[in-house]
Structures are given as structure tokens and as C-alpha cells.
Subunit: 413 residues, 4 copies
């Protein structure tokens, strides 16, 4: 079997594995419009392969004619989309049919891979489809977490007890700035939004070696950070007031027990050493102001990333989907926790790089049309699939969104 | 086994039977806040027995401590309620646990029945619980219909093909009016809102022998009834404009195929002879104005009901959950279709009868607190369970609601 | 000058007098969609005469072609309406132009009156127009009150200090019930909704001689009435929770000063003897439950009204637009405060009387189309214009509305 | 009189002059939450001087104690603010009192100026206050325009007939890019957000010499630009769909007359040569995509600005508050219409410059807290007051806002 076929099978299998502990009922959940049911993720990632690779084939029979609309996310060029906020109402097709859909499309894709020559341009679409599925694997994890969290029974996705070692003391790493190059230009895959590689001028700056911890963030709360308007952006203050926000998503305070946090492993006492996560950009920015620093910018982050230890960019303990502190013997020089713990809000708007060109056709809708109103996050998270991390990766969300594993990387100067 | 035990088992079994064709995923659906998931109905009806009959027992161990809140509908006196619009998000407890909950409570209730003396006052609560469950059986049918209807795949609850005979020509039945008695005073069960029996003065009036048919309603549409403000109540016109209503719920028009209607048996061509159903009170009232008549009032309906044929008050073909025309050889004198087809909107507000007293305690919340803003419907519907129909029965909904099997009974004079 | 001409001039003059203390800027205010700017009331009442009496004349030149739309309230048959919630944005036409419009139409109407024979059917429309203007005079008062009340400067409509004598002790008046006649059948004017006079059967009941006072209502508050769900209708409880209602509109509590009330004469300490006012029907109903009584019904009220003292039905001190207690020497037998203080919420829905027929044409929209969702209020208020009170008068508002002078008349039995 | 005193008087006088043609009623208008009543602008600009310069004085008596709250815009550090969407409900204080307030504060400020030494640090606050008032003069113009435009009578702010000469053909001006300096570092006043001056790297680019005209934009419409999702940002498409946008604000199309445009001089036929204006950033971006170009970025704009003709940066015909085409004999080399016509949406998010520090204290709320979610606009507009234009000026609005004089400057490369 070709390497591509092997990779295809591995990536596809991981989606199923993520959902293994869920019942068919759990697969239905859509607890807010931002999240999607697990079942829908499983179908949509399959739809992507079917739509962009199989449908153009002369002799391919679509699995179900209605799926083209039901599982289209936002590709206007492909046609109408079933309304996003109602995805949780699709009891039919049942989960069993979705799993059959996956098998059907897998069989045809594997046959197609078999038939492709080494320079077949469809290899690029297939690879894009795999990265697309990996993005949805991350969403599967964050959406499952949100969907289960709102249940009063507080069910756990899996049973396990994540533990964090003590966090090493933070350091400020000096970066010289100057003319730097950012963006992707290596071999291999990247999304279109990481290109073109281009020049940026940076003033000298300092980057904090570690992420902000739960203990530090709790201090911000106890110091009245949520009630001091001077720390907040105007939009952030309005958001905080409108929703009466007083702590990160999933945090809960009870007189008797202190702070706890809902995790994929159930609710547990707050781990002071672990990185704080599930923050809006507004909270991250307010914290930075309180700490006398600021959020890092996108190019600053990218230039600082190579100072990270040479350890594998993928999370060491990929099986544990919860962020944690660095090992006690972590490299004493460079930046830590750049990858594999939590995405780091930057103080950069998600905008096109100079000379950016989206992909042609419907696939051009993948990234370009979202370059408005969102903030860039850099790094990767404990739920990012192996092989899906890149130094030039640009993640993006609206500043009020916090169901992703988001956290804080400070800079100053 | 006592008769009460037998009746308990029969009623309880029917709830399960209604859901037999649904998957666990289907049981989750809540497509709008007005409807509840089938799973929730199954749990809540069980909660009613547990809360009002088992919890007061000294030696009863509750099935699950969180169920008291999760499956409380609106009984403030019992305690807080899980928010109604989020009932569809309870993937846990799974359906299997709900079914186990039903068995657990059934066992204890049967034991309690066994232990009760003939004059045990708890018999009244048990009977109320059975009528409560029957009400939810009707809701199960209407909610399942709504929940499946919004799925683009248009799944059917069951496979069958309801057919309607030609409707007999309508007649106007003259009623003398005068001093009449309305309300319940027979032996047996009734809800508190049907009491006390009391005197009402009625002017002479006429009642139409049959319900309005789909064919008649289609004529109203084709005559521009939805666009003629003069026919509509002010609130009704605002509702029609805000939601761009142009036909009854579940009706659909396609150039090629004409009108069709979604039923529990899937989408099928409109049956011209069947009673029109799934109308708001606004539509019913506008139709009446267009027809040069008016909706019947509540006491007018109750006085006219005994003119109906002596046939069993329960639907003849109880197994068919779709309304249909009367048999061709139907009684030529009295009112037809008073029961067992569609609930009939009256031009009466749902208000307390003179001298009305709600039940004491939490059960007093059953009816009294809803006597505001709703309209009374009379009769019963094709989905009303056997043994649940009474001439004095007062059903009530807000005038804009139309997912129940609602229809039109005209009066004049 | 004819008597009709005289009456026309008197009624028209009174509208202007009500606004005499307002600036042109005050005339613009529309602090919520339910209220209209004073300027708009002045224009709309004029529009009524122009539209229904002058426009049909062959030789009449409309004052301004756009006014037909701008000042149409809700007459669909007349044509489109300028959107109600945006009436406060009409800085043009300026107040001066509206006053000119009034003079222009007055001149033409007076000429028309001059020309009408004694049996001219247009006299009925003219009379309707005068009653229409009187209704708007009452709205002018309540809308001015609301519009000024929301200003942090708390300006007074006029300077004066209403004072209330001690309220006489309440009595329960026994009424025999039986077959009674209600509705209008005297000479003179009435609205169509007061007809036809018809028979009603009433059970024996008791009516409280006086209105509920501020002191009594304060007791309800202090007894936790706003926090006891058992007292409230379901819709009422939802309304109370959604808006966090804790007192009547215009009441304010300050630690240092106790309760105060905003009046047309500015904010002043709560008068314990005066009738409580500016309540929703929900609050009135909850108070009645707390007091172990109930709200009176519409026919009960009408039958009890003649027990009131023979004093003029119009308020004795019509110039004082604030409710007050009855005089100490008030009649010791009959019901007091039936008229001229506050409208009394009844426990009756606003529905058509048996055999009710709306007026033909556009004027038929005056009353009939609103017979849905509203509650009847009976009596009249301190702001009801002289000559506008009738024992058969049916006022109606939605149960949540409380900017009118609404109050509580209890009944029992 | 000192020069500063003279400038103070001139700026203050201009605010009054802008409102000279408005009635007191017009001064009340707030037709949407984004705009403020003219009266409120007149008061708030006065409040700024009173709060930041007079209140700190020992012997100053505030004009009215409630004004501190009533006319505070968004300065949390100063205290609570009267709710923005309700500014149009302040009939009191009347306009006459606001004008008196202006005279009172003017007198005291002039006395203060008299008393200040040449190096008094309060001169900076005074200057800031004057620029603040000039910003509000621009808002006065745009808000008056919006407030009058929604009136069905379509009143004009002033009578006049703006006319535009034919637009010269557009050219593409080549800019070399490279390391450039942007931001303010000259003598004189600037806002804090224009600092610090800093280095930016730019790729080579081309800038279009002229603004997009009404004729060009009409072509975009006629080519189906509003219906082609491929041209739009995702947020923009959602906005266009939600509001059914089909043309710039103020444009109207009638079969008989073609396109017209509401202006401060009333509604008039669309001037094909004038720059298109009153666009959202979404529309500007979609037009650029349609034209095969892109919006210019903020530093690109700033670097291109000096190529503009040496003509005075202030609009030549400052008295005409409507954009128009350049003169036929306009400089043939550099960029035209950079200033004085319409603000130009850039493809840059409004973010802090590297090293940006807001002013200390409450005045720090002037700019910094808004650096989120907004887009930068550059240049100035026909309503920008004389003396208020700077090459480094950063204007900012949310991308959906279009009641400002906004327009399109294209770039490419």
C-alpha cells in the first residue's frame, strides 16, 4: 500500500477513535451554534473527499443525493448549505449510516489513490482533505468537550487523571527584531493563508518563556481584574458586561471546594501549574494589561518559535488531551510550551499576507473569505492531531470565542 | 391484579409503543422550544409518579437524585427546573437509563397499588398521573411529528397510507340556547379546570355539522385569504406578516405536484376530504370571517356535543394518527367529527369557571396558572389516547401555536 | 353656533390645553413603542376628521398629501402606515405645522357642521371622531407621563401637589347575581364593542367597596409577594422574572426616603391613601390571590356600578390628573371609586359580545380586530376626559402593559 | 486676545453654525444608536472642556450637577454614562439650556486661557478638546444627514446644488515600497494613536490616482456584484444577506427616474463623476475584488499621500459638504482626492502601533480601548473641518458602518 494510502487510513481512523467513547445520542449534540455534532464532523470530512475528489469522476455514484447539501459547511460555490445552527436536529441519517458513508467513500478514495500517478494534481486535494480532517479532529475534541460540559451530570469523555508537574519559573527572552521573513516556504503542505513568505520589520522585543498558568490567572481574578474597566478593550468590556463573565469557560467556584475546571476527563480541582485555557481574546488582552505586558504579535511569535527546544513539535503525550506544565528539566534557554498545549492569542488581526492569493474555485473559500474580524492564534494545542503542527500555522477565531483551547503568551517592549 | 394496576400497565405500555419506531437519536430531538424530546416525555411522566407518589414514602430510594430537577416541567413548588429549551441537549442520561427508570418506578408503583386500600386518597393522584401520561402521549405524537418534519429527509414515523372517504355535505344544526349547564359533574375523573359545573346563558345559535376540510381551506388560500387584512385579528395579521405564513403548518406547494402535507406517515398529496389541521387560532378565525361565520364558543360547543352520534367517543380507528372525513353513512342529524379528529379552536379565552379552585399544593400548578392568554380548544384529536376524551375537556394553547392537531368548527347566529 | 360645533371646539381645545406646558422638544418624545409623541397625537386625531369626513368631499384640498400615511395609526383599509416605533423621529413636520394642520381641519369641519342637516349620517362619524380624540387625550396624559418619567431630571408636567384624604374602610357589597343584562342600549353614543346588550348569568358575588390603596399594595411587597410564585399566573411569573419587576411602574425605593412615586406633578412621596396604580394585570391578579380574593369580572363590574353614589360620573376634580382616596363622607352603602380614579383590571378577556358586529368599512377596524390577547378594564381614570365615561365602557390592554392608570377592584364568591 | 483664545472661539462657533438651519425638534433626533442628537453633540463637546479643564479648578461651579453623567460619552473613569441609545429622549434640558451651557463654559475657558502661562500643561488638554470638538463637527454633519434622511419628507439640511466636473481618467501610480517610516513625528498636535513613528517594510505596489466614482460603482451593481458571493468576505456576505443590502446607503432606484442619492442638500439624481460614498468596508472590499484589485493598506496609503498635489490639504470648497470629482486640470502625476472628499477604507485592522502608549488617566480612553474589530480609514472627507486633516490621521469604524462619508481607494501588486 502506498504511503499516501497509509496516511489516509491513519487519519481517517483517528476521527473514529476520538468518538469511540460516545453513544449515538452523544453524537447528536450541538449545545451552541459554534459547535457541531460529532456525527456531523464525521460526515462533513467525508463529504469533503466525496465532493472534491469523487464527484468529478465519471463513474462515481454518490452515496446519497441529499448529502451534498446536508454536509456542506460553508462552500457557497458547491451549493446551498443546511443551516448551521440546526445541525443538531439531524437524527437521520443515523450514526450507522454516517459510518457506512465513511466506509463507502474510503473504499473509493483508496481505489482512486491506487489509480493516481505520482504527479497527479489531485494528490494536493487529497492532502488538503487530510489536513481538513485533522482540523475537524481538533474541533471534534473541543466540541465534544463543550457539548458534554453543559450536561448537569458532567459526564467525562474518558476516564483518566491528567496531572501537571510544577511549572518552571518564567523568563523573558530577548529578541533583536529587525528585518525578518515570515510565512511558509518549506517543502510539504501548508494552507494558502501561510503564504507568501514575506519580509516584516520588527522592533526589538521580549517574549515570555512560558504560558500563563491557572495560578497566575486566578491571581488576576482575585485582584478584581474582571471588574476593572481600565484593563479591557471597549468591545471586551461590553462582552464581559453583557454575559457577566467572571472566569474562564469551564471554571467554577464553590465556597467549600474552591475553583474547579471541567475537562475532557470530567470536573476536577483547578491545577495551578497547568496553562490557563478557554479564554476569549478579550480576557487574554485584559490579563496582559494587568500584568504590565501585552500579547505577542503574529510575526513576533513566528520568529520566537525556533528558540523552542528541539523536541518533537507534536505533543509528547499526545494521548492526553489537556494542557499541562513543562517538564521540570525543560530547556533553560528558549521558549517553552510553544506547541502542544494551548493556542496562543496574538495581538494581530487575521489579514491576508502581502500578495496572498486564495486557491482557485470552491477551495478558495477555505481561508480567504474569513480574513475579517478575527484574531490570529499561534502554536498548537493538546488536541491538535500529530502531524498537524507547523511554525507558520495561522489559526483564527473571533475574539469572544473561547471554547477552543486558547491561552496567553506575553511579550513586552 | 387489580383493575387499577391493569390500567396503570396499559397506559404506561402505550407510551413505549408510541416510540417503538424511533431510534435513540430520534428520541433526542427538540426542534423548537415548544416541543420536548421523546426521551424527556418518557422520563417526565415517570417523574410525576415518582415525585407525587413514591417520594413521600419512607422507604423509597430515588432512582437518581438529579432527576428531580432534570425532569421537572414547571412545578415551581417542587423546585428548580432544567431549562425547557435545552431539553434536547440531554444525551445523558441515555435512553436506556430512562427505560430503566420507567421499569424501576413501575415496579414501585405496582407495589404501592397492591398495598393501597380501596379508599386510599393516593388513588386520585395515581389516576391524575395516568391522565397526565395520556396528555403526554398526545404530545409525544405531535412532537415526534414536528421533530421529524423538519428533517430534509422527511422520515415517516410509521409506514401506512391514511385514506379519507368523501366528506358528507355540511349542515347547520340549530341550537336553542337559553340557560344551560356546563362543566363536569359525573362520576369518574376530570381535571380541576372542568369544574365547577355552572350555569351559562346562551343565545340561539347554529353549529356546522362537520369540520372544515382541506379542500375548503385551500379555497380560502386561493381566494387570497392570507393577504386580506380585513379577515384577520390584529395580532393575527402581525403574526402572519412576521412569519410570512401562507398555509397551514406542514403544507407545501410545488408547481409540478400541487399541495402536499407532511404526516406521521411521511409527506403525501393533500387529501381534500380530510379535516384541515395544524392551524393557529388566527388562521381559524380568519377562515371563519372569510366564510361568513365565526368560531364556536366553549359553552356552545359543549352543549352541541351530545348531538353527536352515539358512537364511541374514542376514535374508531385509533391506530391511525391522522384526521379523516366521517364515514359516508354518518348520522344525518347531529354534529359529526366532534371527537377523535382534530381539536377545535373556540372563540373563548381559557379562564377559570366561576368558583374554580385549583388542587392544593404543587398539583395546583397543573392548570390554574395557565389561565391567561390562551384559547380553549374542544373535542379531541386523532392522537388523543383511548379513554382520554370527555365532553367537558378543556384543552388550551396560545393562539399562534399550531403544531397540535387543531382545526375549525364553525358557528353562526 | 350649533351645539355640535360647540362640542367640537371644546373637545379640540382640550387637546391643545393638555400640551400647553410642553416644549416643541417634549412633543417629540416616544420613550417606548407603546407610547406616541404628543405631536403625533395632535396630528392623528386631526387626520381622523380629515380622512373620514373631509376627504370624501368633492372640493376639499388635503392639507398635505403625505399626512395620509404619516398619521394613519392602524387603519389598513386607509392605506400604509408610517411605522409606529419610529413616530418619535418625525422632527418634520414641525409642531408649528401640526398646529396649523389642526386649525385648517377645524375650519373645514366647522363649515361642514354648519352645512349638515339634522339627520346627516356624518354626524355619527363626527361624534365618533370626538370620542376618538377624547381617547387620545387620555393617551396624551399617560404618554406624556411616561415620556417625562424616563428623564433623569424628572421634570413635572405641571406644578401642583395632589393630596389624598384618608381612605374610608373597605366593605364587601353583596350582589345577588342571576340573569342580568349587560351592554349599551341607552340613547347617545357608544363604541361598537359595547353592543349588543345581552343576557348573562351571574353567580352571587361580593365586590369590594373601594380600590386597593398604595398602603395595601406596599404590604403585599413587604410580604414578599413579588417572590412567591404561587401567587402568579405562569405568564405573569415569566414576565416578572424577565424584567425583574419588584414594584409598580413609577415606584422607587431609597433607603433614606422610603417609597416615592413619579406623577405628572413630579416625583413625590408615596401617598398611602391613594389607589395603587400603574400595575400590570399580572400584578393585579397576584395581589388578589395574596389577598384571598380575585379580580372582578366584566359583567360583575357592570352590574355593581349602579350601586355607586349618584355623584357625577366625571371626576369631581377633573383638573387633577392623579388618583386619590374617596372623600371621608363618601356614601356608606354602595361601591366607591368606580369612576374617575383608575381603570380596574377585570378577570375577563376582551372578546366580542354575542352577536357583535363591527362598523362597516375602515371604521370597523376601530375595535373588533383587537379582540384577542387583551384584558378588559372597567370604570375610568383621573385622566379620562369629562363626558367620556360610561358604565358600559370597555377599555382593554395587554396584561403586561402598565403605563395606563390601572388599578385593582377585588371580588369574591 | 491670544491666538489660542481666537482658535477656541472659531472652533466653538463652527459647531453652532453647523446647526443653524435646524429646529429645536431636529436637534432631538437619534434615528439609530450609532448617531447622536445634534443637541447632545453640542453638550458633550462642552462637557469635555468642563470635565477635563474646569472641574479641577478650585473655584469653578459646575453648570448642572447631572450633566456629568448625561453628557459623558464613554469615559468609564469619569463615571457612569447615560445610555447611548436613549440620547434622543432628552427633551430636557432644552436646546436653549444647552446653548446657555456652551456660553457659560466658553466664558470660563476663555478666562482660563487668559490666565495660563505659555508652558501651562493644560494647553495640551485644551488643544485636544478642540480636536475633539472638530471630530464631533464631522459627526454632527454625518448624523444630521442620517437623521434627516429617514424622514419621509426628505428635508434638506441646506439649500444648494452641488455639482461635480467630469472625473479625470484614473492612473496607476507605482510605489517602490521598501523600509518606510509611518506615524506622526512633526511639531504640533496629533492623537496618541498616530504614534510612535515607526518602521514598516512594504512590498512594491501601485495606487490608483482617483477614488472610485458613482458611475463605476453603479457598474458593479449592474454586473450583479451584490449577488456574487465569491466577491465577498464571509462576514460581509452574512451582513449583505441579513440586511438585504443592494446599494450604498442613501441610494434609491426608481424605474422612472433611475438612481438618486440623498444628500445634505436633499435627494438628487446620482452624480456619475462624484466619488461613491456611504459604503461599508464589506462593499468596498467586494468592489475591489470585482475590479481585480484590492483595498490599499494603511502604511501604503500614508506613503502614497505625499504624491498628492501641493494644494492645501483642507478642502478647497469647505462650505460644500458633499464629495465631488477633482478639477479637470488636476495634477497629472500624483494621487488625487486623498483628502477632503471621502474617507478611504483600508485593508488594515485598527491596532496599536509598536510601542504605542495611551494618554494617562481618563483621556487614555480616547483611542486605545477601541483597537479591536475596527478597520482603519485614511484621508479626510468633505465634512472634515478645516485644520483637522493630517497625513498620519487614523480614522476607524466597524466594517458594517456606512453612515460616514466612506469611499474606495484601490491598490494592487
Amino acid at each position: 500500500m502506498s504511503e499516501l494510502a497509509k496516511r489516509f487510513q491513519d487519519v481517517r481512523a483517528r476521527s473514529g477513535a476520538l468518538c469511540a467513547s460516545l453513544t449515538a445520542e452523544d453524537h447528536m449534540l450541538q449545545a451552541m451554534p459554534d459547535v457541531s455534532p460529532a456525527k456531523w464532523h464525521l460526515a462533513h470530512t467525508t463529504w469533503f473527499f466525496e465532493t472534491f475528489l469523487l464527484e468529478p469522476l465519471d463513474d462515481y455514484a454518490v452515496f446519497h443525493p441529499k448529502f451534498r447539501t446536508l454536509f456542506n459547511s460553508y462552500y457557497q460555490a458547491v451549493g446551498p448549505q443546511y443551516p448551521r445552527p440546526r445541525r443538531g436536529l439531524l437524527s437521520r441519517p443515523p450514526l450507522s449510516a454516517i459510518l457506512e458513508y465513511r466506509r463507502y467513500v474510503d473504499t473509493h478514495i483508496l481505489a482512486l489513490i491506487e489509480a493516481m500517478s505520482a504527479d497527479d494534481p489531485r494528490q494536493a486535494i487529497l492532502t488538503l482533505g487530510l489536513h481538513h480532517e485533522q482540523q475537524h479532529q481538533e474541533l471534534l475534541a473541543t466540541d465534544i468537550k463543550y457539548n458534554l460540559s453543559i450536561n448537569p451530570l458532567q459526564p467525562a469523555w474518558q476516564e483518566a487523571a491528567p496531572e501537571s508537574p510544577p511549572a518552571p519559573p518564567p523568563r523573558w527572552i530577548r529578541m533583536p527584531g529587525g528585518l525578518v521573513e515570515v510565512g511558509f516556504d518549506a517543502d510539504g503542505f501548508c494552507f494558502d493563508n501561510e503564504t507568501p513568505r514575506h519580509t516584516v520589520w520588527l522592533e526589538p522585543y521580549q517574549v515570555r518563556s512560558t504560558l500563563i498558568t491557572n495560578a497566575e490567572y486566578r491571581e488576576f481574578i482575585e485582584d478584581g481584574g474582571y471588574d476593572d474597566h481600565r484593563l479591557w478593550l471597549s468591545d471586551g468590556w461590553a462582552w464581559r458586561q453583557a454575559h457577566n463573565v467572571q472566569a474562564p469557560l469551564y471554571w467554577q467556584h464553590r465556597e467549600a471546594d474552591g475553583w474547579s475546571e471541567y475537562t475532557l476527563y470530567g470536573r476536577r480541582p483547578l491545577d495551578p501549574n497547568a496553562p490557563v485555557t478557554h479564554l476569549s481574546a478579550y480576557e487574554a488582552d485584559a490579563f496582559a494589561a494587568w500584568a504590565g505586558a501585552r500579547l505577542i504579535t503574529e510575526p513576533e511569535w513566528e520568529v520566537a518559535a525556533p528558540t523552542a527546544p528541539a523536541a518533537p513539535i507534536d505533543r509528547l503525550a499526545a494521548e492526553m488531551m489537556h494542557p499541562r506544565a513543562p517538564d521540570a528539566d525543560a530547556d533553560a534557554e528558549g521558549a517553552l510550551q510553544m506547541f502542544g498545549e494551548v493556542w496562543q492569542w496574538t495581538r494581530s488581526a487575521y489579514l491576508p499576507y502581502p500578495g496572498y492569493e486564495p486557491l482557485p474555485g470552491a477551495l478558495g473559500e477555505y481561508n480567504g473569505k474569513f480574513m475579517c474580524g478575527q484574531w490570529v492564534l499561534r502554536g498548537s494545542a493538546c488536541v491538535t492531531p500529530p502531524g498537524h503542527t507547523r511554525r507558520t500555522y495561522r489559526n483564527f477565531f473571533y475574539p469572544h470565542q473561547r471554547w477552543q483551547f486558547t491561552g496567553i503568551r506575553l511579550a513586552r517592549g
